[in-house]
Structures are given as C-alpha cells and as structure tokens.
Amino acid sequence: MSKVNITINGLALQVDANMTVLEAAQSAGIDIPTFCHDPELTKAGACRMCVVEVAGARNLPAACTTPVAEGMVVETETERVQKARKTILELIWADHPHDCLTCEKTGSCKLQDYSYRYDVKGSPYQGEVREIPFDDTNPFFFRDLNKCILCGKCVRKCHEINGAGAIDFMNRGFGTKVTTAFDDPIEESSCVFCGMCVDICPVGALTPKQGLNQGRPWEVDKVLTTCPYCGSGCTFYLHVRNDKIVGITPNFAGPMKGHLCVKGRFGWDFVDSPDRLQTPLIKKDGEFVEATWDEALELIATKFKEVGAQYGADAIAGLSSARTTNEENYLFQKLLRSLGTNNVDHCARL
C-alpha cells in the first residue's frame, strides 16, 4: 500500500493512500465525532458530524468520505468546525424527544455524548416535530422513530450485511423515516430479527425489549462469552446485573465483526426459563423425586459398577454433548474410558 503524508491538527502523519481522513485520524488516536460511519458499511456521509477543515477547501468536507491526499492539511476542532457540529446537534435536538431521564439509551447515546462534548444546552430552533407512533409490535425491540436521527446505519446493515433488506428510507426531506416496505409492521416484513440494527443505532430509536429498565450501561457487568447455538462461534458480551442477564453487546472487535443472528442476539432468555432443573431427581415408581447430590451420584456410581461387573465395561455407553465445553467433553470421555469402554459418542452426526 502506497503511503501519503498528511497533517492532522499539526501532527505529521504517514498513512495508507486509500484511507479517508476519518480513518487516518482514528489511526492517530484523534477522535472525530460521527453518527453514520461504520467501518464495514458503505460510506454515507449523511450525518455530517465529522466535518473538518481542510486547507484549500471551500466547504467543510466530511472526514468519513474524504480521501487523504499527499500534503493535505486537516484541522478537526477549529471554531468553524465546532460551530457546524453544534448547529447539527442543535438541529437534531429541535426534533428529538427530551426524555433522556428515562430513555433506555442514556449512558450509551451518541447524541448525549456529543451534545455534552460540544456544549449544547438546548436548541434555538422551535418548530414542527415528528409524531410517529411508537412501535412495539415485534417481540424483540422497540422502534421509536421520533428519536431516529436518520444516520441510516440500520438500513445499510440490513442491506449490506444481513441481506434481508427489510427496512429503507421512506418519504423525503423532513418527512423521511426508516421503515419497512409500505410501512408494514416489521414482523410482517422480510426482517429476520438479527438485531444488528439495534446494536448500531447511535440513539434510542431502536432499543431491545429484553432488559428494559433493568440497568444503566454503567451499572452492568459485561462478560465476554461465546454463543451457545450454532458452530459459527460468534462472541458477545453478556450484560449482567443482580445475577440476571439484562442484555448483550456484540463483540465488534472479534473475528465475527459483531455480526449476530436472532438466536444469538435475542435467544438467551431460556437461561431463566421457570422450568430449569434445579435439583437432582431420582425416578421412584415411575415418578421423579427430588434427591440430594450425594444420593443421586451414589446411585449412579453403584449402578455403573454393577453393570460393569455383571456385563463388562462395554455394557456402559455415554453420549457426550456438542453443547457443553471442551473441558466437559474431555472429562466425559475420560470417565467412560476410565470405566474401560470406548462407547462414547455425541451428536456430531445429527
């Protein structure tokens, strides 16, 4: 990759020639605010938060779509730039519900973060506001399009990554909204509920139903783990509060780039299904009776020893599990083999 020399905020940098100004800045640890940029999606240049001053340019170009060029001189936080960003934030504020106190997104909302950063105290613009009905018809997430800032990441994620293409822009200008074809309920659209739109929404327009009102971002522990469903091996962070899972964040930095499907994203609530087995059970006269661990394990050990003694070790067989961990599979086959049999298999064939 050929390199070019550029200067950002007085810092001389040598960067890949195919980078954008935003990427170059990020590579140097310079944070340029953006709502609509996502590294794996088509560059939209829609929100205009990332405008910067480039020497010689008439306007303020968007850093996310402007390629670097040899000798380019960029300033990312001049007064003119900050003024433009503040104006953009104020414009968004003018048509954004101000229910931050109870908004589920509080604490992880980019609109909040940037409004704080650019000292937005309110909006000087009063006028028409959108009044789109709140949508809670699908089981997985809420759609509050009045909070939507039309960055379009959800649309691009849906088309470019998932391929479902369930949502797109409807109407134009001030009347623009992101919705399904013919504005049908989302569960009647081609949506497959991967939730990737929810996870990249920078504001509170798309929020998961799971974990509602159960914890602010700063109150939850985030535990990195691996999905229990198919073999793709997606990883994500479980949000835990008070010994309950209250949400998840994809592992955007991981090998699966934070992509998920409906099962991994929303299908973890079986964990606290009320019919979880909680005690050992021994069948007596055709009925299961609660037992202590000691009773149950003693019984098993006795039976296995009896069968082994009477019919030989190969009269014992075990099915291990593709759902359990490596460590557990290892111990399972170790146990069976220690008993003297290789009768161990699992459902790889199914």
């Binding site: 490596n326 083999r337 790889a348 199914l350």
Partner: protein, 537 residues
Amino acid sequence: MAGLATAFGSGAMTNTIGEIEDAKAIFVIGSNTTQNHPVIGYRIQQAAKKGAKLIVADPRYIELCDYADVHLQLKPGTNIALLNAMAHVIIKEGLADEKFIAERTENFAALRVTVEEYTPEYAAEITGVPAEDIVKAARLYGEADAAMIFYTMGITQHTTGTDNVLAIANLALLTGNVGKPASGVNPLRGQNNVQGACDMGALPNVLTGYQPVTDAAARAKFAKAWGVELSGRVGLTVTEMFNAAGAKEVRAMYIMGENPYLSDADSAHVRHCMESLDFLVVQDIFMTETASYADVVLPAVSWAEKEGTFTNTERRVQKVNPALKARGQAKADWEILVELAKKLGFAWDYSCAEDIFREITALTPSYAGISYDRLGVNGIHWPCPTPEHPGTTILHVGQFSRGLGHFSGIEHQDPAELPDEEYPFMLTTGRILYHYHTGTMSRRSKGLKFIQNEELMQINPADAQALGVTEHDTVKVTSRRGSVKSRLQITDTVPKGVVFMTFHFKETAANLLTNPETCPTAKIPELKACAVKIEKA
C-alpha cells in the same frame, strides 16, 4: 468427517470464515447457510456482492440462490453424480491443476476413470439438473483462482455421506484448491461445540486430537496420565448404542446434554431402545423428552453459568465465561463429572475448568500451545503446537496432514429409500433460523416462540393443489416407520415431490419418520431423504 480424514488426513474446515470475503468462487452444497449458519451466510452474500462467483447446489431454492450465479437444484441424494460430472467437465476442459495433482496428490487415475462416464448429460438424468448448468458450475469453480466449498448435513446425512464428502474433496484436489487462502473444503458444524467435542475425543474411535484408541502408544500415553487401563476396542456410535441397548448388549447409559429422542432417526425405535436400558442417567438443564425416560436426572448449569472453552467450526478455540451464579442446586457438567468420578473411585483433582484445559493441552498436540491467557477476544485456531505458535488458519499448506491428498473414485448410489407409489414424496429435514435442534433452548425463548412455535412443513404449490390442501392446513405425514401431523407452508422453494420438515418441534417429531439407515463408514443416518405419503388430516 471420515471422508475428509481419508482424503486430506484431517476432518475439519481447511480454511476460515474470515477468508470468505477474499474468495473468487464459492460452492455451497447441502448447506442452507443463511438459516443454519446465518453469520456465515452474511459473509457469503457479501463475497458474492463483491464479485465472487457463487454456486449453490440444493434441492430447495434457499436464500443464497438470490445471490447465486447458478443454482443446481438437484434431487435429494444425487450429490455424487453432480460432483462427478463437475469433475468430468473440469478434466475435459483442461481446468484441472495438473501441477498440484502431480506434486500433492495420489490416486488421480481412480477419479479420472470413474468420472469418465459422468458426462453432464448423464448426470442431468440422475440429478435433474440441466447439463448446461453443471458445465457452468464446473467452469465457475474450475476457473477461479481461489474457490471455497461449504457443506453441511445435506451432504453427510445420507447413506452415501462419506462418499459425498470424498467426491467434494476430489473437486478441491483436482483444482488445487487446498492449502491456500480462500480455498479449501469447509464443513460447517451445526452446533456450538461439535468441533470441540470431536477434538476432545467424545468419539468411539479416537482420544483427544484424533489419537486413535487402536494406537497402543497413544493409549499408553493417556493410561499413564490418567492412571487407568484403557480399552483398545473401538466403541459404539450413537446409532449403534441404541441398537445395542435394544438388544440388551448395552445396559446402562449416561447422556449429557443431548436429546436423542427427538434428534435421532426413527425416534420410535430410539424410544424403545431407551426403555430397554436397565439404567439411564440424563444430565441437562431442562426436563427434555429424553430426560423423562431417565432413572436419574442431574441438573446442569447453562452456558452462562460456567467457565470453559468452545471450539467453533473453523477450529477456533474461544472462551466461555461465567456471567451468572448457578441456578438452584445445578452444577456445571464438569463439576458433576468430577464428583461422579470420585464416587467411582477415580482420584480426579480439578478445582477449575482451567485445570482441565491444562491437562487437555498436555495430552493433545494440536492444542498444546493454547492457554486461557492466550485466548483474548479473538481465540486461537488449532493446530497450535507451542505457546509461541500463532495458531493455524489454513490447513494442509505445502503438505496434507496425511502426506498426499488422496483421490477416490466414487460411484453414484441412490438413497436407501426412494419414493414409490405408496410413499410418493421425498422428505428431507433440517433446521430453520428461529430454532435450534430439538428446541430445548430456543423453544424456551419468548421471542423465538413468538416468531414460530410449530412445524410448518414446506410443500410445493403444485403438490398442495394435487392434494387439495391450502396454506396452514394440517396433514398426516407417514413413512414406513411412523406418522406425524403437521401444518403446511406452501412454497415453491421446495421442488415438486419434495417436502421439508424441521426436527425442532416435539409435537411434530419429524424423526419418527426418518430412515435410520446409516452411512456404512461414518454411521450417520440418512436424515436428508426418506419416502413419505401425505394425507389430509
């Protein structure tokens, strides 16, 4: 996996998911990727949009067909004829990689001789795929600089399962598509830790890292480490276990986290066999259909309550970390196993999952260099022989695990059961996006249940019309082994004469119908093809 082991010497994905975007051609056969491995499906779509040629072979019009350059809509169970004909065209048109064949493979003559008679026209008769589409697919695959093949159970769950895999491996060997980036033969594993369970020796013929139980040296190594005597006799596979239980040869069974009552072919037979057991222990997180037959049920914790590792389909070892406390008195499977082992008189001493992992790495060369500390957010691909080794994304670079890649001459064979007058439909089974396996987890998820909570057997509109049934009608589906009732989804994604069911729903247990006839090598039942009749219920 036996097929790939024969051809290459190792039965895992040769390449990785991250390479998909760089592939020039992708051949997906017997895998409804967008439904069963959605995130890998995304990648394949993205590659296709970036210009990779996409070939899809599937009896159904699956979502990936929207992105495909050619869809080979073959009759269920005719994969070999199709693959042989593609090999035929590749050889005929000079698209074979002769240098690779000469330097890296053996037994090419067997393939050449076998595929000689598999002209596209001949294969068209068997498969129902137009000859020109077979030629097109062969060219797309054969001309690409780097081509990846993906398959899943649509290939393996046949009586010819192993042969199907060998026929796939032939194509990759023929075009030199092994041992380089964005190529290879890539079986996608259906469950979170199938790869790991296999790696860990939860198989009747091998110890960890595929060290054969028949290998005395390997046995000796493990016997020494474990302080026990080890049997050198290969054990029974799942299907064989149940048959043996039915025959009173197996008397006691220990089933950990599986639900064979719904997942195995010919459920009625499985149920009978389980009832024949003297003693059955089931360890699970829910009272599954299988657990209800147990003498003792042990409560295990869910994945969110324990520590350990999973190995994904591309051989990536990744951490599982505990987020929650154990529910009730439930314990992690490994804790239960340790306590049981102690009761049985084995001196096991593990205080945490990592203790076990350390023992695994000590006994398993392919895992030797991996440690919990090294896994981070990205995990490590095995083989990873030393602590300094970065892991291996591409297998068989420069040399196959078995030395030379092995060609096999494979002949087409019909499925064990074909439709006839009495059972005129071919039933094929699989999974859907919203549910998982026997539904133990997914059917306890509120949202997933909302989307779909019952079987909707797919049937072609023409067949539906002939039967006089309409969308969502209930029909009785009967095979030689059993009968279930199912509601219908009428869709032209299935061709005429073929119907599709999942095995997620116990109320419509598709495996009461399926054929337990197995592939003689891999012992995988033919879940993808059996003959059924359909009547209005």
